[in-house]
Symmetry: C2
C-alpha cells in the first residue's frame, strides 16, 4: 500500500506503528528519526526502522506516509522542520492525546500543506515507554479517533481510515473540540487528580505509613499516577482550557459531598453515592460488552 | 477453640467470617441474626449459620465469641441491644472500616463491658455484597488491623489476634486515630473523589458521550465508584473529621496543578508529576513484594 514510512519519534507509539505496518505488509521501508541519535540507532538495531535519518526533514524525504510521534510540545517545531519536503500526495498523521493544539501547530508549521495532515489519536498505550517496548500488537483492536478539520483533504482522510482499519483498529471521527472535551473528562482530569492525590499523601507527615496500608482499591485508583511526567506535562498544558473547566466542575461536585458529610446528611449523601455507583456500574457493563 | 459464634449481620463480611471459622474448625455452632429475617433465613439455608436468632440479643446468648458485622451507623444500637447478655469472657469484635466512631458507640452501648470489645478492621471485601457472596477465603492472606483502647482487656486482645492469625490473616495493631487517618488517605478520600468525578461527568451535558470513549485507565481509576451506597455513606460520615481535613489538603494540591497548567509552567509541572509518578512506582514495587 505504501512505499516508505517516515517515522519521526521512534518511541513506544511510533515504534509500535512501524512494527504493525510492516507486519501487515502495508509498507516496504521505514526511515526513522528520533531527537536522540542513540534512540534512532537502537530502533534500527531491533528492527523497528530500516534506515536511520539524520534529521526529521530527511526522514520525510521520499516518504508517502509520515507518522509524527513526538511529545505534543514538539509538534510545531516538527511540522516546521519537515515542511519543505512535504508532497501533495503524502499522508501525514500524529498520535497525540490532544488535538486542538496539534492542529494549531500544524497550521503554523505546515501552512499550505495543512490538507495532507490527518490528526489521529489512537487510544492505546503502555505504562512503560521507549522503543524497547514497541509492540506490533499495541494498536490491534483499539479505537482510533480522527479529528479532520475543514481543510483536511478527503483523499488523505480516506487513506488514514484505511491504514488504521487495516491495523485492526476501530476508527471514529469527531471534531477536535469534541475530542479534547471528551478526553479531559475521561483521561486528563483523572490523571491530574491521581497525581494530586499521590502528592497530597506523600506530603502528609504520616504519608509513608499511610501508603504502607493501601490495598487493591488504592492500587487501581492510583495506577495512572505512575504515568510518564514529560508526556503528561505536555498533555495537561495542551488541553488546559477544557481541563481547567472540568476540574472546577469536579471540585464543585466534591464540595457537594463535603457539605453533606459535614452535615451528616445521610439520605442526600446516599443518593449522591447511589448515582455515582449506578453510573459506574452501567458504564462497566457497556465497556465490557464493547470489548 | 470456641463453642458458639454469635453473628450479628449475616452479609458478605459476617457470613465470610462464619464460613472461615467453621472451615478452620475454630467454632462448633454459629447463631446468626440479621435485621432482615429473609437474610437470616437465607444464611441458614446456605449453611453460613446453623441457627437463626430472632434478635441481636438472642444471637449473643450463650456465645463465647461475637462478631458485629452491621453498617457502622447501626453500631451503637447493636451494642445497646446485646449489652445485657455480654459475659466477662466473651470476645466481641466488629469489622468496620472506621474505628474511632465504633469505639464511641461501644463505650455508650456496652458501658462496663467495653473491655471485651476488640475493634477490628479486616482489609478485605468484594464489589458484590450480600450473604450469597460469603466466601470462606475472603480473609485469608489479608491484613487485619486491631485498634485496642486503654480499656481493652489483654486476654481479649490476645484471643482476637489468635483468631485472625488462625484464619490466615496478618494482624497489626495501631491506635484508632492512626487507623482513621490512614484509611481516610488511602481509601475513604479516594472513594469520595471517585464518586464526585462520576457525578461531575454524568452531570455534564455531553457526559454520556464522554463515557463512551473511556478506556482502561478510567476503568481502573473509577472502579471504586461502583461501591455500595449505604456502606460508603456510613463510612464517609463516620470518619468525617479526618476525611474533610485530607480532602482540603488534596484540593490544595490539585489547585497547585491547576496554577501550573494555567501558567504553562512546564518545568514545575513536570517536577510535580515526576514526584507523584515516582511515589506511585515505588509504592507499587513494595505492594507487590508484600503480597
Amino acid at each position: 500500500m505504501f512505499e516508505q514510512l517516515g517515522l519521526i519519534g521512534c518511541g513506544l507509539m511510533g515504534g509500535s506503528f512501524a512494527l504493525a505496518m510492516k507486519r501487515a505488509g502495508l509498507v516496504k521501508r521505514v526511515v526513522g528519526y528520533s531527537k536522540s541519535p542513540s534512540t534512532t540507532e537502537r530502533a534500527r538495531q531491533i528492527g523497528v526502522i530500516d534506515i536511520e535519518a539524520p534529521s526529521a526533514l530527511l526522514a520525510v524525504s521520499g516518504a508517502d506516509i509520515v507518522l509524527i510521534a513526538v511529545p505534543v510540545s514538539a509538534s510545531e517545531a516538527t511540522f516546521k522542520a519537515i515542511k519543505h519536503l512535504v508532497k501533495p500526495n503524502m499522508l501525514i498523521m500524529d498520535v497525540g492525546s490532544t488535538k486542538s493544539d496539534v492542529i494549531d501547530a500544524a497550521r503554523k508549521g505546515l501552512r499550505e500543506h495543512i490538507g495532507s495532515f490527518v490528526p489521529a489519536h489512537p487510544i492505546a498505550g503502555k505504562e512503560s515507554s521507549g522503543v524497547e517496548h514497541a509492540d506490533s500488537d499495541l494498536y490491534a483492536g483499539r479505537h482510533v479517533i480522527l479529528t479532520p478539520t475543514e481543510r483536511t483533504l478527503t483523499a488523505q482522510l480516506q487513506k488514514a481510515e484505511e491504514v488504521w482499519t487495516a491495523l485492526g483498529c476501530k476508527v471514529q471521527k469527531m471534531s477536535p473540540e469534541q475530542h479534547d472535551a471528551t478526553f479531559a473528562a475521561v483521561s486528563h482530569l483523572p490523571h491530574m487528580i491521581a497525581f494530586a492525590l499521590m502528592n497530597a499523601i506523600s506530603g502528609h507527615p504520616n504519608g509513608k505509613e499511610f501508603l504502607s496500608f493501601a490495598g487493591p482499591g488504592f492500587r487501581d485508583f492510583s495506577r495512572i499516577a505512575a504515568s510518564e511526567p514529560k508526556v503528561w506535562r505536555d498533555i495537561l498544558i495542551a488541553n488546559r482550557e477544557e481541563l481547567l473547566q472540568q476540574s472546577k466542575l469536579f471540585q464543585k461536585h466534591l464540595q457537594d459531598f463535603e457539605a453533606l458529610v459535614t452535615n451528616g446528611d445521610v439520605a442526600a449523601l446516599e443518593k449522591l453515592i447511589a448515582h455515582a455507583s449506578s453510573t459506574r456500574v452501567n458504564w462497566g457493563i457497556s465497556y465490557k460488552s464493547n470489548k
